[in-house]
């Protein structure tokens, strides 16, 4: 039997919050407002050679536990260029009660602003549940790049498809028009290994890009990555791979190609 104090400790949950506001001032993007509540925090923003301001989101704990909630809000003003990354994978751990960890991400980008949000992959541990939603609200003329990556589990430890549930809803709006909607819902079953679903692969990614340019050279890798236009004109991305580094390489190349064509942007040079 679990002692009462330990059981109570095990039921404690955390709500992390990270609210960031960026603006363009004196020809530079600056962080003008921030609210950080542990365990979510950022390391000091730094400008990339291209002028984009880069921010790493850090979670120094062991990850999201069942019942935990993350609240992330990012606002980008006119002309600002922002890249938000996470320092490490999001590890999702189960709770004794089976409660899901939750995360909501709200992004707002003003006309002429650009926000890119490329978190590291989600690693759902055995028995874990994650329910997350991301909503991006764009003004006409705003630019957006988003990718989301899921692993089948702690693959390097041999733990695959042992999580209980993964739900991720991503939507992008421009005024009253929805440009993109994707809803991954996966409770692993023997059918998850079917051809057409995940096969024998362990990594998958999705993404959406919105910008003023047109795509002439669509990112594609046979059987591993595809892209195209949604019904409302956003660019979607799908990728899958057997190994994380291969997925990262495919995804990185696709991001650069889309950034260059949609945003007219030079390649990102990220220092880790």
């Amino acid at each position: 039997m679990i002692p009462a104090a330990a059981a109570s400790l095990g039921q404690q949950t955390r709500t992390g919050a990270l609210h960031l506001t960026f603006e363009r001032r004196a020809a530079q993007t600056v962080l003008v407002g921030e609210f950080q509540k542990a365990p979510l925090m950022i390391v000091r923003p730094f400008a990339l050679p291209c002028g984009t301001l880069s921010v790493f989101v850090v979670n120094p704990t062991g990850g999201l536990l069942g019942g935990d909630h993350n609240d992330i809000q990012i606002s980008v003003g006119p002309g600002a260029r922002v890249l938000v990354l996470t320092q490490s994978a999001t590890r999702v751990q189960p709770s004794a009660s089976g409660t899901a960890a939750t995360q909501t991400v709200q992004l707002a980008v003003a006309a002429g602003g650009r926000l890119e949000y490329y978190p590291e992959r989600v690693l759902p541990f055995a028995g874990s549940r994650l329910v997350q939603s991301l909503r991006a609200s764009l003004e006409p003329g705003a630019e957006l790049g988003l990718t989301e990556t899921l692993a089948s589990g702690r693959v390097l430890s041999g733990e695959r498809l042992k999580f209980a549930e993964y739900r991720s809803r991503t939507e992008v709006w421009c005024g009253p028009q929805r440009l993109y909607l994707d809803q991954w819902r996966l409770s692993p079953s023997p059918q998850t290994r079917a051809p057409g679903i995940w096969g024998e692969l362990d990594y998958a990614a999705s993404g959406v890009f919105v910008g003023p340019g047109t795509i002439q050279d669509w990112p594609a890798e046979l059987g591993r990555l595809a892209s195209g236009l949604t019904a409302s004109g956003a660019v979607w991305l799908r990728a899958a791979a057997a190994r994380g580094p291969l997925l990262d390489a495919d995804l990185g190349a696709a991001r650069q190609a889309l950034r260059q064509q949609l945003f007219g942007a030079s390649p990102l040079q990220i220092r880790r």
């Binding site: 096969g199 692969l201 595809a226 195209g228 019904a231 799908r238 990728a239």
Partner: protein, 214 residues
């Protein structure tokens, strides 16, 4: 079961659904679905995680009409959730063909049919107007998809008709689970997870030769 529902779900009904493989063609060309066992796995996978989590619930919800989901809301959701252009446009074409044929055959019964565009909401709304029960409607819709895929498989693979039908029979439990899930679903449940079929469907227009339309 309602005779008109059986007619609506029959492969000979002029909806044009037989002309599309929704990515199965790419998987067979690439050698990922070559045998009856792999076909069964493909069918079960789609019922559990792909088509069965999106189109089957959309059909069930459309049957309820305005009670639980407005048809235009379902169509808008499917416009967005079907990321890949080929399956998205196939769903719209088959929906339009089905609607046109049904209105021609049963003009009085369908005189108040709400506007629908995609295949799933159109099937659900038409079947409801023809007096079919919701459970029968979804069962017929799932059966129609299942048998449509095995018919496509016999054209795409070295697979006899009996072996293809056996694959469909072996997917029976997955089909029943799919139907039960669809009958309980809400609008917010529409989704799924089939990244490899999405990629395959996007690659289909680039195949050297094709039996099915993109």
């Amino acid at each position: 079961m309602n005779l008109r529902l059986l007619q609506l779900a029959d492969s000979a009904f002029p909806s044009g659904a037989y002309a599309f493989s929704d990515g199965l063609e790419t998987l067979t060309v690439r050698g990922e679905v070559r045998t009856a066992a792999e076909l069964k796995a493909f069918l079960c996978g789609q019922l559990a995680h792909g088509w069965g989590q999106q189109d089957a619930p959309a059909c069930a919800l459309a049957w309820t009409g305005m009670l639980r989901a407005a048809p235009d809301e379902l169509d808008a959701l499917l416009d967005d959730l079907k990321l890949v252009r080929g399956p998205r446009e196939a769903s719209l074409r088959v929906g339009a063909n089905l609607r046109r044929a049904a209105l021609s055959l049963w003009p009085e019964e369908l005189s108040t049919l709400p506007p629908t565009r995609h295949h799933a909401p159109t099937f659900g709304a038409v079947a409801a107007a023809l007096g079919a029960s919701q459970a029968d409607t979804v069962t017929a819709y799932v059966s129609s998809w299942l048998l449509g895929r095995v018919a496509a498989a016999t054209k795409l693979m070295k697979l006899g008709g009996l072996d293809a039908q056996r694959a469909a029979r072996q997917a029976g439990d997955a089909a029943q689970d799919c139907i039960q899930h669809a009958l309980r679903a809400t609008v917010s449940d529409l989704g799924g997870f089939s990244p490899l079929l999405d990629i395959a469907a996007a690659e289909q227009p680039g195949l050297d030769s094709r039996l099915f339309q993109t």
